[in-house]
Assembly symmetry: C2
Homo-oligomer: 203 residues x 2
């Protein structure tokens, strides 16, 4: 049993890394098994198909990222401060990834959205759920900030969507230009998108 | 000669459509030739490799899109009005594509950025040039609007980058949710990102 779970974990880790580097389409099961150091039989013991594996990789990535987002967005700092920290941590994570592998790999969910969303409905649905959850978490923080009179944006959900879209767009450019500084405009842009009070902007 | 150029055009058209539907990695030369209805020999007469073909498809798409952007962004309407029309036309184009093929295919340049930019340097460079050119065109309009006192944003280039990033991010969501209404927030977001005068916002 111990060795079996170990093989599953190895497959997930190898697939995660390969998907980050080269996307989903380019990968074959044989290559994933080779990188994981497990026989091909192990793969089909755990996963029906490459798509099932991709869903498992997505779930594992979101479980980890949701943990980070929850820690930052639901702690007891002031709401806008929490949002600022989320953007800073995202930039720091991309920078750490760039330092370890030489290039900015971007956001796995954004990458798979543009690579795959029109090709596999189960992956599209999973990615929709993840982005819906991200928007909801950001919306909660904006709603809190609005109750405190710190932002005056009318539609908090639309604002949360725009912030997540701005984040994905800037991460896309960070990847294209292999430059995480692209994310430095995010915080000021958030304040603009939220119609934040000037006193807060200056803080 | 006539038939030869025709074959090249057929290959480009087929490749454009296949790349939009399924990305670059999933395609093989044989499939492109089959869709184009040309023999494989024709392919290698015109293109060294799939990468050369992809660059030609990107160039052709940008030539067409640059024409549209130039027509809208450099006509003689007021600068912010031109920017608004660009966003409206982008949404209309995505909607037309969705009506003809059932799904929002998104922005070819954004799609290829997330699929490929870390894998082929020639494609990365070409996509960088295209986004640089887009940012420059938007920057010119913002600069004009600032000279007229209609926006008060300090760094016009940074603002142009943020607008193009916001556009790419919202197009990503339009594709994921197969819903072009995602782009409706763009104009209000632009006004926020530009610190546009309220009187203009109300117009």
């Amino acid at each position: 049993m111990g060795r079996t779970s170990d093989a599953k974990e190895k497959i997930l880790t190898a697939a995660h890394s390969l998907i980050e580097q080269r996307g989903y389409t380019a990968l074959g099961v044989a290559e994933i098994c080779k990188a994981a150091g497990v026989p091909k039989g192990s793969f089909y013991y755990f996963f029906d198909s490459k798509e099932t594996l991709a869903l498992a990789v997505i779930d594992q990535q979101w479980e980890s990222q949701r943990g980070d987002w929850t820690r930052v967005l639901r702690d007891d700092a002031e709401p806008l401060e929490r949002l600022r920290r989320l953007l800073e941590e995202t930039q720091a994570d991309l920078r750490a990834g760039q330092q370890s592998c030489g290039t900015v790999s971007g956001c796995m969910f954004g990458n798979l959205t543009l690579e795959l969303s029109n090709q596999t409905e189960p992956i599209r649905e999973r990615l929709q759920e993840i982005f819906d959850a991200q928007v909801k978490m950001v919306d909660e923080v904006i709603t809190e900030a609005r109750e405190r009179g710190e932002v005056s944006v009318r539609d908090t959900t639309e604002a949360a969507r725009s912030i997540v879209a701005q984040l994905e767009g800037q991460v896309l450019f960070a990847k294209l230009y292999n430059n995480t500084q692209r994310l430095e405009a995010l915080w000021e842009n958030c304040l603009s998108l939220l119609s934040a009070r000037r006193t807060y902007t200056a803080a």
